[in-house]
Subunit: 123 residues, 2 copies
DNA sequence: TTGATGATTCTATAATCATGGAAATATGGA
DNA sequence: TCCATATTTCCATGATTATAGAATCATCAA
């Protein structure tokens, strides 16, 4: 992941309403939620929510799909995952791994180890 | 970690100069770097750097210690680690772990599984 | 087509943030 | 003490971001 992209994603999350939207969507993954449902649950005016959804979309954190009159928004887990990877790879580099205790949330037992490379070299 | 704190940290990182400062400090962890050295390496005016360092400090991402006329800044790894934990715990919740493939950066072989709890319940 | 509803865009306003020169505040050495 | 250096604070300026009402656009049902 590039610096610029990381900044865009971090900025998208660094806002109360947007973080709330994202977390709400996470609770409703993977189907997502219609904009109206989000607005209702969070008590946001339509225009304000739309503004924030655009920011989240622009950062790639959420995707949208239309279904009738509704537009469903859903989190894009990969992007969050890439962000976590970026932070992990830069929260301690040369020093030899004094951070990131690798205890994720659920047991890393199944097909865990073969997904990606992580640690892309210089940056 | 609280929502508010996460937002503060995310906002602190979501800025080009600050992210650069933080990453530079990571490269020089754990001793850190003097403000003047940071300013020189990144080509930032003193006042500007000071402003950003204050933001990073306020977010808890860096600590400072005085040594003679110099003030050394160093990254606080725990805070970054907590942030990663927060994101990990909220990038997929109910859904059953479709994210965070647990491939950190170096081989998770030693004391990996028993470190912490993570996943603090509701939030 | 008309009406109702969902969602976005337009627009103005207010608030926050970033920048950097200049002045002020440490600190250590002579 | 006086000077040089390191760093921060003060301040003004410009840029970006957040908010939300009103208007507009889109979709479906009748």
């Amino acid at each position: 992941m590039q610096n610029k992209q990381a900044i865009t994603i971090l900025a998208a999350l660094a806002q109360e309403s947007r973080l709330a939207v994202y977390r709400l969507l996470i609770e409703h993954a993977p189907e997502g939620l219609a904009a109206s449902a989000i607005a209702e649950q969070l008590g946001l005016p339509n225009a304000t929510l739309s503004f924030h959804l655009k920011e989240l979309s622009h950062a790639g954190l959420v995707s949208s799909r239309q279904s009738g009159r509704f537009i469903y928004y859903a989190p894009v887990i990969e992007v969050m995952n890439d962000l976590i990877g970026y932070l992990t790879d830069h929260c301690c580099s040369q020093s030899g791994g004094s951070c990131a205790p690798a205890t994720r949330k659920s047991a890393p037992a199944k097909g865990v180890a073969a997904t990606g490379k992580r640690r892309s070299g210089s940056a």
